[in-house]
Structure formats: structure tokens, C-alpha cells
């Protein structure tokens, strides 16, 4: 579908726009906001949850976080106890609804399908596509340009070479098409 020509209206009673251009659901569960950095022009949809109280979450520009998606820091057990790892989300990352992201890094221009679960401390490099319903095992790494699917998820194909342009354009158009107005 052409995102550039579709308009989705968000009610001003439910959504607010920050100075840096983020469009955020007012009642979204955002904990530890001092640890969350969103670089701007991102959208946080209804009922999404950001757990910044555990450790830092850093998100780039033009990210789209779908409804009921949970983003939280990952941890790892060492011999002297557990350590929490901060989470890095790159620019132009599109996350659809009902996802759980407990990754260490999600590279730029990545598209995560509906209901996907990204396991503890996993690293998804740039320009990847996670298919809907994929369950990514913890501590796994995926190289750029991979299509990831299945449970446990593995690389099942390659995305087109021009994914960077495709996803950055789609993310910018999504940001444009979600308008806060009555």
C-alpha cells in the first residue's frame, strides 16, 4: 500500500506531540523516562510500554512503535550476578502491534512484523525484516539484509538490496500520515 497517500487521524484527546515531533499516546506506559531517549519524529501508539526504569532505551528518528508493543532492556546472568544491558533502536525502525522487544540492538531500517518476539540480548543488524509471529531466541545475532522467520527464528531469505531507501521512505511517510487532529 502507498503510505504516502493515506491519512490516519489520531485524536488530540488521546495523543500528544512533543517539541521534537514525537507523537505519543498520552496513557502509554512509559517508565523511567529519564533513561529513555527518543531522537524525535517517532510515533508511540496506543497501549505500548517502554521500560526505561530497568536501563536506558535509546531510539533514533522516524521510529514507529505499534499498539500493545513492549520494549524493555535485556539482562544476562554472569557468575557475579545479572547485568542489565541498554537497548539501542536505530533510525526508521517500524515495529507493528503486539511485539515484545528485549533485544540489545535493533539496527536502522528494520521492519518487525506483527506479534514478533525478539529475545534477550539478541542483535538484529540493519535492513532486516522480522516476519510476523517470529520468535527470535536470546543471544542470537542476525546479519544485515536478512529475512527472519519461524520459531526459533532463523534467516529464511534476503530482503531487496534497496531496503534502506524503501523502509526509510515508508517510515517517513508513516510519520506524515498519522496526523493528530479532530
Amino acid at each position: 500500500m502507498d503510505e504516502g497517500l493515506v491519512v490516519v487521524k489520531l485524536s488530540p484527546d488521546e495523543y500528544t506531540q512533543t517539541n521534537s515531533g514525537n507523537k505519543i499516546f498520552k496513557n502509554a506506559s512509559i517508565f523511567g523516562s529519564q533513561n529513555i531517549i527518543i531522537h524525535g519524529k517517532s510515533i508511540l501508539m496506543r497501549d505500548c510500554m517502554l521500560r526505561g526504569d530497568l536501563t536506558g532505551i535509546r531510539m533514533g528518528k522516524f521510529c514507529f512503535i505499534g499498539e500493545r508493543t513492549l520494549i524493555r532492556a535485556s539482562h544476562r546472568k554472569f557468575s557475579k550476578g545479572a547485568t542489565m544491558f541498554p537497548m539501542h533502536v536505530g533510525d526508521c525502525v517500524i515495529v507493528e502491534e503486539d511485539c515484545v522487544l528485549v533485544a540489545a540492538q535493533i539496527g536502522s531500517y528494520t521492519h518487525i512484523g506483527k506479534g514478533a518476539i525478539v529475545g534477550r540480548s539478541s542483535i538484529i543488524k540493519e535492513c532486516c525484516k522480522v516476519e510476523a509471529g517470529a520468535v527470535i531466541p536470546s543471544d542470537s545475532t542476525f546479519p544485515p539484509f536478512s529475512v527472519i522467520a519461524g520459531n526459533p527464528a532463523r534467516v529464511v531469505g534476503r530482503v531487496p538490496e534497496c531496503t534502506q531507501e524503501l523502509i526509510s521512505q515508508a517510515a517517513k511517510e508513516l510519520y506524515e500520515s498519522y496526523v493528530i487532529q479532530r
Binding site: L5, P144, F145, C162, E176
Partner: protein, 406 residues
């Protein structure tokens, strides 16, 4: 959101008559034609491990049988195994299926890398045979060479001042038929009897490995498992088969997404996308909403023609002509600006920056499982050729729009 992009629903015809979405195609500016993966020359640029993202040189990859020595895969579920410290030694375990090296015959070892893999019991014998065959190859090559050369045997008279004597002796040695050193095998005359119990005995599937994990480790012979070395991945460089110019080449690092050379079709050919989901009703004229985007940095003139000959739907809009402004990378003006909302005519409904929204009328006789609307796309863009005079020529390709069910 479920229908983000939907790139597979608009197919373009490549110069080799294959159909592919525009994002999977390339455009060779030297030959001015579309190219797909199957009509380009593919070569492996670099081999790397997908887990540690380390570059492995081609020769090294060959000696390691295309496997990474530091990363291991679970033999049951293919997930990455992670190393854990159990106090004195290190063991590997899978976080998904909870398999660990304690279930194998190695259990744990002092270092995290270099886990022993299953080896072929006939390895020594096979390598011996391979060496022998290589000697035969050298011998045959030397015999072929001697027929080509007009040789007058002067070797015995050569002094070893320039090392020629040594060369002569080596060549002479190669000409001698090597003796077979590998152990010879006796042919089997009596085969073991095939008992009925092979077919009637009850197999406990819970104890045997799945087909997939047996394929992953063909030397395991049924039950024993060991960590599997991660297979390496290759990265491709694409080249036009006609003019041998590169069409796509990434930077050296395996984790890089920056292209050194890129000729994506998207940046030279106007892109057609579905704008709204079409509802087809039998026996009537239905509107199909599509949009055309110009991703090129030059202005594009576009003509869309109906191609009713090989289409399952009849397009009632015979021809649409329009021109699209160039794509401006630097315009971060993200206001929701639609430059003209008032329809120019019945077909061109709106214009927004470098795209137009079109409404095509389609006559539906019969709604099938997959309804295909065929179009001919003609475009003129000064960047489509390396030479400026050819850039003014019209290019043409066929396009299929898959409209799905009603």
C-alpha cells in the same frame, strides 16, 4: 499496518522476460535495460560468519569447509549456542531447546572455541585416495604436455648452473606412472540378510533425531550430537552480463549497508504502487486506485497504457499521460502537503510532491482467485542512459498489477 509496502503485488517485466517486483530489479544505465537476479552475473564478494560478523578470506573458508570455528549451532533446533562457565570449564548450551554439551560425549572443555566436530571414520583413507588421484592428474598432465612440446631430450646434458637440471628431473619424475598406494578394497559378495524385524519393530521416535538435524550432521549416525560449526554466508556482487559493469556492490565490511555501486531500478524507473485495496464486483466497472512515484533525481515523463491482450481484467482507461517532478532528498518538509487536491481529470486524482494518485476504471467480467491487470509503462528520464542524447528516448516495460480477490 498489515499491508505495509506490499511490494509483491506489482510485478515488472525484466529484460529476460521474468516478472519481479521493482525493488528486486536493477537498471543498467550502460545498456539501458532492466536486469533481475537471474539475468545478472553473480559473484561472491566476501564470505563471513552471520553470527560474529567476521570476514573470512576465501582460502581460509575453503580449508575450514565453509564453517566458522568460533560460533556453534544447536544440533536440535539450529539456534546459536552460547558459552557458559561452569566453574572450571566451559560448556555450550542452547537457550531455546535447552540442549547442552552435557548431553554430548564432550560435555565441557577448557576453551570456548575449537569444539570437536564429528569426523568421518574413513577420513584417512579418503584423503589417501585423493592424494593418489592428484598424482595421477599430474602424471596425465605431464604426458599431455610432452605431446604438445617438440622435445629433444637434452636434459642429461644440462648443467645445473641455472637450476634447469632440477626442473628436468622433476618433469621426468612426473612422467613416471605412480604406483597405487591406497589400500585396495575387496568387493562384497555376500550381503547381510534383510530381516522382517527391520519393518515390524516399533521405533521410539522420541530417542531418535529429527530428519532436519540428521541432515545437518550426516556423520552422527542416528543419535549422537555435537555442536555444529556455523555455516558461513556469502555476499554477492551483481554484474550486467552484457556490458560487465557492476550493478550492486557493498562496502567491504560484512556489517556495512553502504553501497559502493548501486543501480537499483527504483531510482530510474517510475514506481507503481497500490493506493487503496480494490473491491471488484462482477459485471460492473470498478475503480482501481494506484499511485506512481518518481524516485529519480531527474524529471520523468510517464505514459501508462492499458494492455488488455494478456490481462484477466479489461482496463477502460486507455491511456494516461503525466510528468513527475524529481525526488528531492533534502526536502525535509514533512508537512502534509498535497499540492493539488482538485482532480485534474477523471484519472489523475491528486498530486503530492513526486507522486500522482490515479484512478483507473476496470471492467470486471468474472472475479477469479487472482485478478491481474496488465499495463504498459512508458517513461522518459534523462538519467536512463549514460549518454545524454539517448536519455531522451522513451523506455518501455510491461507491468502486472495483482488485485487479489473481491
Amino acid at each position: 499496518m498489515a499491508e505495509l509496502l506490499q511490494l509483491d503485488r506489482i510485478l515488472y517485466e525484466c529484460s529476460c522476460s521474468e516478472w519481479a517486483p521493482l525493488c528486486r530489479l536493477f537498471y543498467c544505465r550502460h545498456c539501458s535495460i532492466l536486469r533481475c537476479h537471474s539475468c545478472t552475473a553473480n559473484e561472491i564478494d566476501c564470505t563471513f560468519c552471520g553470527t560474529c560478523l567476521e570476514n573470512v578470506a576465501v582460502g581460509e573458508a575453503r580449508t575450514r569447509k565453509n564453517r566458522c570455528v568460533n560460533c556453534y549451532q544447536c544440533p536440535i533446533c539450529c539456534s546459536t549456542l552460547s558459552a557458559h562457565n561452569s566453574g572450571e570449564a566451559i560448556f555450550l548450551s542452547c537457550s531455546t531447546c535447552k540442549w547442552s554439551t552435557f548431553e554430548s560425549d564432550i560435555q565441557q572443555q577448557a576453551t570456548a572455541g575449537n569444539w570437536k566436530i564429528l569426523e568421518n571414520p574413513h577420513e584417512e583413507e579418503l584423503s589417501c585416495v585423493l592424494d593418489q588421484m592428484k598424482q595421477y592428474e599430474l602424471n596425465e598432465k605431464a604426458q599431455r604436455d610432452i605431446l604438445k612440446r617438440r622435445s629433444n631430450v637434452v636434459g642429461s646434458r644440462l648443467t645445473d648452473r641455472f637450476g634447469l637440471q632440477q626442473m628436468y628431473q622433476k618433469r621426468k619424475q612426473a612422467l613416471e606412472r605412480p604406483t597405487w598406494l591406497a589400500p585396495e578394497k575387496e568387493p562384497i559378495t555376500v550381503l547381510d540378510e534383510l530381516y522382517d524385524s527391520h519393518f515390524t519393530s516399533i521405533v521410539d521416535l522420541s530417542k531418535s533425531l529429527s530428519l532436519e538435524s540428521r541432515i545437518m550432521q550426516p556423520l552422527s549416525r542416528g543419535s549422537e550430537c555435537r555442536p555444529i560449526r556455523m555455516p558461513l554466508k556469502g555476499r554477492r556482487v551483481l554484474r550486467c552480463t552484457q556490458c560487465t559493469h557492476n550493478l550492486s556492490k557493498l562496502e567491504y565490511s560484512p556489517s556495512s549497508i553502504v553501497f559502493k555501486i548501486q543501480y537499483f531500478a527504483r531510482t530510474y524507473v517510475p514506481e507503481i504502487r497500490l493506493w487503496q485495496e480494490t473491491k471488484l464486483a462482477e459485471g460492473g466497472i470498478c475503480p482501481v486506485f494506484i499511485s506512481v512515484v518518481n524516485e529519480s533525481v531527474a524529471k520523468a515523463d510517464v505514459v501508462l497504457l492499458a494492455n488488455n491482450d494478456d490481462s484477466s481484467l479489461e482496463c477502460e482507461t486507455p491511456v494516461v499521460e503525466f510528468s513527475l517532478p524529481p525526488h528531492d532528498e533534502n526536502s525535509d518538509n514533512l508537512s502534509h502537503s498535497i499540492s493539488s487536491l482538485t482532480p485534474e481529470d477523471d484519472t489523475i486524482i491528486l498530486r503530492k510532491r513526486n507522486r500522482v494518485g490515479l484512478k483507473l476504471c476496470v471492467k470486471v467480467d468474472e472475479v477469479r482467485e487472482m485478478n491481474i491487470l496488465s499495463l504498459i509503462l512508458k517513461w522518459k528520464n534523462e538519467l536512463t542512459s549514460m549518454t545524454s542524447d539517448k536519455g531522451q528516448e522513451w523506455r518501455e516495460t510491461r507491468v502486472k498489477v495483482l488485485l487479489g480477490k473481491s
